[in-house]
Symmetry: C2
Subunit: 216 residues, 2 copies
DNA sequence: CTTTCCCGTCAACACATGTTCACTAAAAAA
DNA sequence: TTTTTTAGTGAACATGTGTTGACGGGAAAG
């Protein structure tokens, strides 16, 4: 027995209350409302703890929110790393990346949902943090693309634009996927196929790119 | 004098309270929080009316929300109509459409912001209504594209996919634009340029589209 | 051992919230 | 005109909220 688990109203829960608070909040966000609509008491109740215990771990709700955001970012970066270390771009790579990505989304619904909601409805602090993170992803993607042989005739600015296009779409499709029931296999498969098609269009459509008339 | 405007604690405000409530709520959403975080009393206070007066116009807050959504949709459809009745696609059309669209966004910040926030953080009812509306837009766009001469070799399914790509991106760029300060002219100009570039890539990149190997 | 400190509990507060009810003045209908 | 309907007000309620303070048990440090 590791923690003397009588499980019944034992008082000090050995630092695991903090995590209980975090996952309680996360659950509530997933199945109820934006984080800003959660009340401290609500969270502590769901965590099985008295309201005042909250202050032992966080100064206030917004601190909890930022911690949750950090945790989500860790998930996101881990995903990014895994997607990036795919091999160089042959025809198959695209499908592979898309699949690993959306598998990640499925396995981390809560975090993706949290970020997605906060991006639109969070405090300015949160929104900025998320948008900064997304901009970082975009930059990394642009750098990766610069290494693709069939894209090496594209200048840096256009690569950035392309990467933005990709990220915007993946983001949108992610939100679409998150709206689906977890059971809806066919729906999820459709999103995946759409994603692959759209990315294919972006990647290979860029081949037409040549110096054209208008704009500076 | 039309409405006997002594303006000072005059009692019946002739049906204009309803609108006051709506725009009060809209303002609060714009500069404070998601709609779900607004309180009835907060709204009535901002509207300059006693809390109980609310019930003369709406059964509860969620009804106000739906009304606000309706109003926003009217704005959105009007915009769509105006963008659609642009001429057929020469090189200039793209820029023209992009400009009219984002002008609309600028002139209706509140409505676009409201919809954008509710899409992510609203009640399921709201989210579904918005997604349905967006799907409608996408379909109309696909139909419009079908009439473009240089796209008439694309089958319906791919057109739908293309339209989705366009809508996803415009949505994302809209949110980006809404994050900018209203004064930030250069920032807004940049978004506009990016938009045009990205759309150009989508529209003309599709020229490469030919029956290729993989996927069903 | 004793002391310290972490961490959960309980009681209590001041305040904001949604909603009710009865009341009334103006506008509209008769 | 009189009557009815519409749309505002005020007092009052039960409940939910963030936060404070003093208390105490168990784990870790001395």
């Amino acid at each position: 027995m590791t923690t003397e688990s009588t499980s019944r109203s034992r008082k000090p829960k050995r630092g695991q209350t903090r995590e209980a608070l975090m996952s309680a909040a996360l659950e509530l966000v997933v199945k109820k409302a934006p984080f800003s609509a959660l009340s401290l008491r609500e969270v502590t109740k769901k965590a099985g703890v008295v309201p005042t215990a909250f202050y032992r771990h966080f100064p206030d709700m917004s601190a909890l929110g930022l911690t949750l955001l950090d945790e989500s970012f860790r998930t996101l970066r881990q995903m990014m790393r895994q997607v990036r270390q795919q091999e160089l771009p042959n025809e198959r790579m695209l499908r592979g990346s898309v699949e690993t990505y959306f598998t990640y989304v499925r396995n981390n619904r809560a975090h993706f949902l949290f970020v997605s909601k906060e991006l639109a409805s969070g405090t300015p602090t949160m929104r900025n943090a998320i948008r900064r993170e997304i901009r970082m992803f975009t930059n990394e993607l642009a750098m990766d693309m610069a290494r693709f042989p069939f894209l090496n005739h594209i200048n840096a600015e256009d690569l950035q634009m392309m990467a933005g296009l990709v990220v915007n779409n993946v983001t949108a499709l992610t939100q679409e996927m998150l709206e689906l029931e977890e059971i809806d296999e066919t729906g999820q498969q459709e999103v995946l196929i759409t994603a692959e098609k759209q990315l294919r269009l972006i990647y290979f459509g860029v081949g037409m790119w040549r110096s054209d008339k208008s704009h500076s």
